[in-house]
């Protein structure tokens, strides 16, 4: 009817992904967790997992770049902060599934739609935290930078933004962990991810545990990675003030 809208949702797929569910005892009885099935079929979750990782990495990176851009833009133009917070807040409020579907007619069925929506979600959290981080930079540090003869631009990039790294990393962590969770719905935008196996057999317990568990483990792994990156990016925090 409308060629712009996807012709098929994943629910309609008659995939043979789990056809041999009638094989063995545990699987047939839909036991709590069929370790053997999970072990033998684990490779089937690899490509959804990789898709998930790509979706989250690209979206968070894009959101990070845009949010920093907005923060630099609104730095020194304080009147821009409330409207930008409001705008990103509206994007953040729209439920993810609805967001994906609303974008389908414009960006089409596939990864682009998912990435645009996921990126939009990260903006609010990252932008808010960068703004808070910039606002918390000690006046003494800025004075010291000025005293060294820095221009406004130098001050922003060499003093203020580096000192805002802890808040920035806090925002990135929240944004990344939420994005891992929301990206399970990207399957409705045709972008795959761990939501794909999850939806293919939502009643099969082992499947739900493996797919859902992988999503949660992925969130934890991303979080740990960001904590590490934050430490590397703010070496001065190791120095105890005297």
């Amino acid at each position: 009817m409308n060629p712009g809208v996807a012709a098929h949702l994943p629910l309609a797929q008659g995939d043979d992904f789990f056809q041999e569910r009638s094989d063995t005892g545990c699987v047939q009885e839909n036991g709590f967790f069929c370790a053997q099935w999970a072990f033998e079929n684990f490779d089937r979750y690899m490509s959804p997992l990789l898709e998930h990782i790509v979706l989250v990495s690209v979206s968070v990176f894009a959101g990070f770049a845009i949010a920093i851009g907005l923060a630099v833009l609104s730095h020194g133009r304080r009147w821009l902060v409330p409207p930008l917070l409001g705008l990103t807040g509206v994007l953040y409020t729209i439920p993810s599934l609805a967001f994906f579907i609303l974008l389908l007619p414009i960006t089409g069925f596939g990864r682009t739609t998912a990435i645009v929506a996921l990126t939009a979600y990260t903006l609010q959290i990252i932008y808010r935290n960068v703004v808070a981080g910039l606002a918390n930079v000690p006046a003494a540090s800025k004075d010291a930078g000025r005293g060294m003869g820095m221009t406004d631009q130098q001050l922003l990039w060499r003093v203020e933004l580096p000192l805002a790294v802890p808040e920035l990393v806090a925002g990135l962590r929240i944004a990344t962990v939420s994005t891992v969770a929301i990206a399970t719905l990207a399957v409705f935008a045709g972008a795959g991810g761990l939501g794909d196996p999850l939806l293919k057999d939502i009643t099969f317990r082992t499947n739900v545990i493996v797919a859902g568990g992988l999503a949660i483990l992925l969130a934890i792994a991303f979080d740990a990675l960001l904590v590490l990156a934050g430490r590397v990016a703010s070496p001065w925090r190791k120095v105890r003030p005297v």
Binding site: R128, V131, A181, G212
Partner: protein, 238 residues
């Protein structure tokens, strides 16, 4: 060509305002009557869940905050809650617990607990200790301190947790039809019945509903916030 997506949205609006025959034939779908019914179903399950989350999480958060205990617990629950994928949560209920209104309400309720618990804790903790000491010096009992000093001063942060929870619940109620509870999400998930126009109409309605809920709760927050607190500049949330 470039207007193709406008056609899609026109079709979706037509679905919202006018009845039509279902893709599967036989029954009439769409139109304001069905939209109103589905919206009410969506609001109903969301309201049940939010009430449950509030009843469980707020007293615990406020109590922990008042006592100044369990900070690690409150923060850890808040962080863990964000990592739970909504789709996995619904799938978990379907695979392990069961389908239907009660089970879905419980799943959504669980989803609402972390933001409310964490924010109530933080909201009470960040109340100026001098204000609490002043209240104690005036001879207020502990329940009075909580009710008359801490809670009113905590409204903005506390309500931001409630808003986060409400939005998460309304959003996740969209996939409730997967667990046998019909909501506005049914329009999105049952393409074979409602067609492409129905799917897009569902997305528009869910988005509008979420924005209305957010605005309504922002209004509630304004009503609950004491005037003296409104006059201060709100601190930046982290």
């Amino acid at each position: 060509m470039k207007l193709a997506f406008l056609d899609a949205f026109t079709g979706a609006l037509d679905f919202i305002f006018n009845q039509r025959e279902a893709q599967t034939g036989g029954v009439e779908v769409g139109g304001l009557g069905q939209v109103a019914d589905l919206t009410l179903d969506h609001v109903e399950v969301s309201a049940i869940a939010l009430t449950g989350s509030l009843a469980i999480a707020m007293p615990i958060g406020v109590w922990l905050g008042h006592r100044g205990r369990g900070e690690l617990l409150a923060v850890a629950i808040g962080n863990a809650g964000r990592a739970v994928p909504e789709l996995a949560l619904i799938a978990f209920m379907v695979a392990f617990v069961g389908v239907g209104l009660v089970n879905v309400s419980i799943a959504l309720l669980v989803l609402g607990i972390p933001p409310i618990l964490t924010n109530s804790f933080v909201a009470i903790r960040q109340v100026d200790r001098d204000a609490v000491e002043a209240a104690r010096g005036m001879g207020m009992s502990e329940p009075e301190i909580v009710g008359k000093v801490e809670l009113p001063l905590a409204v903005p942060t506390l309500m931001s947790g409630v808003r986060t929870a409400a939005i998460a619940i309304v959003a996740t109620a969209t996939i409730a039809p997967l667990a046998g509870v019909v909501t506005l999400g049914d329009l999105i998930l049952s393409r074979n019945v409602y067609g492409d126009d129905g799917v897009l109409a569902g997305a528009i309605l869910v988005a509008v509903l979420a924005l209305v809920v957010e605005l309504a709760l922002a209004g509630v927050q304004r009503l609950l916030t004491p005037r003296g607190v409104l006059l201060q500049r709100a601190p930046a949330a982290v």
